[in-house]
Structures are given as structure tokens and as C-alpha cells.
Symmetry: none
Subunit: 153 residues, 2 copies
DNA sequence: TAAGTTAAAGTCAATCAAGGTCAAAGCGGG
DNA sequence: CCCGCTTTGACCTTGATTGACTTTAACTTA
């Protein structure tokens, strides 16, 4: 398991973890040349692993002195966490986004490892009877039910 | 008794035995070309010899840098439990039976209160798109996935 | 200060690299 | 001969990589 995208992902997450702030600023071209890849690969990593669905916000500026800022949304247990998450999930959610969300919940220690596995197993179940759109809706339904159940204490 | 499938099976089991972890990661195409067979033969071996029923969990990822991970379930009483439970669940299960099983797992302290709520939420989800027989099948599928996931430690 | 230059980052489609599925053909023992 | 397990291959889906082209911002200079 070692494609460049994974390495870049880990690299960025480590930067975030080590940062004193809840965000980091990078230079696309720097990171790209550090990993010996084309700059657009960074965008690929950002869109596939640092989307809103994954709990991040990405801002940037072009031109001289440009940068990319990756902000980690705080995901703590206050008031409307459940509602926010359900909102985030909506009526329909892709497998990737669902997994991203679950991972984030785990990273924030909002859920345990076992709970993560449990939720992933549900999301990952090959619901072979179903068409894609229905599948995405079903997934949203189940995910919301799970998040609600596990967080409502 | 020496068809390719058996050889591949032994090969993979040896890898597992020699591994420091309780899992291995392989590349389907590599193994296939090592054994001079078509890639899909590996899938055949996996489904016929490394199923949950056999005490393994198989995960994978496609695309560049893809891999197949074979996880060996530790063979203590919990695993037998998983296998037995999966057996018990079968292809289809009613809501009442499912709930009963979950309660039982809780009573035995095999799962936590949160996990119980999580599982109940999944089972209880009104899967409004579906007919009864399919619903029962789906429930069985999800329940088995959950039990396996939560107990695989 | 407007115009031109340079230094970023963004987009998108093509291509490559896996693994998944399924049905049909092959084969071996009873 | 038949049944069930094995083998094969065509076709599918998903994910990663690359590069040509575009857009935006800052800097420089006349």
C-alpha cells in the first residue's frame, strides 16, 4: 500500500497534527517536487482526501507567493454535532465520502476503533440487490442512523 | 491433489504464517503471474478458501498501487463465536430475531452499549425502498458484516 | 500607473494501473 | 454420464498519474 497519493496524504496529516494551529499552509509546487510528482497530483490528493466530507476546508491563492491552506474543521462533541453530521450526510452519500467521514470521526476519537470497523462494515456491505442511486441513499440512511445512535449518549 | 488453487492457498497461508502481523498484503497480478494463472483465479481462491466462514477477512483497493489484504482472524473463542453467529444468521433474518441476537451479544458483554445501539439503529432503519424478503436478506447481510467487523479485533 | 512578465495555483481529459464480476468451458471422480 | 469444483477470459469499475492549457496574483518597468 504505497502509492504517492497515500504518502502525500500522510505527510499533510502529519503536518496538520504537528501544527500549533488548526491549519497549515503549503506551496503546491514545493510539495510536488518534494514527492517528485506533478503539481496537479496535490490537487488530486486534496480533492480525494481533504474534502469537506472528510472534515477539511481547503483555501488557496494563486500568483506570486501563492499557497494552499488546509484547515481542519474541529469536530468536537458539542451541541449539534449529530445534527451537523446528519446535515453533512444529506439524502445520499458516496462510499468514499462516507468512509472519509467515519475516518474523521475516528481520528477525532469521537468513535472507537471497533465502532469504526462496525460502521465501515455496514457502509461497505455489498448490497448487491440495489442500483447505485438507491445504494447511495441507503448508505446515507444507515450512516445517519449509526451516527445518531452512537453519539446521542 | 495438486491443482493451482490448492497451491495458491498454501502459498498464501505460508505468507500469513511467516508474517509478523496478522495479515498480509498481496498484489493480485503478481501472485497470478507467479503461479502462471489468470488474475481472477486469485479471487476464486479467496472466495473459496479465505471467506469469513474460513476465519479470514479480505479487503482490497483498486487502482494504481492497489492491493488485497488478507486478515487472519485470531482463533480464540471469539472467532468461533463469529463463525457460529454468522451461521446462525444465515441468508435472511427477521427484525425480531436480529434484535434478539444483538441483545444477547450485549448481555454476554461481547459488545458495548454504544455498539448495541449502533447495531440496533442499522437493523431498525426503515429501508423503505425494499420489499420484505429482500429486507430480511439485507438485514442478514448487514448483521453478519457488523458482527464480523466488531469482533475481528 | 498601466502594461507586461513571472510565479503561482486550477481544471480537465487522457491514460495507466489495479482489482472485481460473471458466465462459459474444462476436468475428474463417482 | 453427471455433478461439482477449477480454470479461463472478456468486460467492468475504481483509483492514480500525467500533462497541456487556463486563470489569478504579484512584481517590474517604462
Amino acid at each position: 500500500m504505497s502509492n504517492i497519493s497515500d504518502l502525500i496524504e500522510q505527510y499533510l496529516k502529519k503536518l496538520l497534527k504537528d501544527s500549533l494551529e488548526d491549519y497549515i499552509e503549503i506551496q503546491r509546487s514545493k510539495v510536488a517536487s518534494y514527492f517528485n510528482c506533478v503539481p496537479s497530483q496535490i490537487n488530486y490528493v486534496l480533492t480525494t482526501r481533504f474534502s469537506t466530507g472528510h472534515g477539511y476546508i481547503v483555501e488557496s491563492r494563486r500568483g506570486g507567493g501563492g499557497f494552499i491552506r488546509i484547515i481542519k474543521l474541529p469536530l468536537d462533541r458539542r451541541v449539534n454535532l449529530v445534527l451537523d453530521i446528519c446535515d453533512l450526510i444529506g439524502e445520499s452519500i458516496s462510499r468514499v465520502d462516507a468512509m472519509g467521514l467515519i475516518n474523521r470521526l475516528r481520528e477525532e476519537e469521537v468513535i472507537t476503533q471497533r465502532e469504526k470497523r462496525l460502521m465501515c462494515a455496514v457502509i461497505d456491505s455489498k448490497l448487491r440487490y440495489l442500483e447505485m442511486p438507491v445504494h447511495n441513499q441507503l448508505r446515507a440512511l444507515l450512516l445517519k442512523a449509526m451516527v445518531t445512535a452512537v453519539l446521542k449518549e
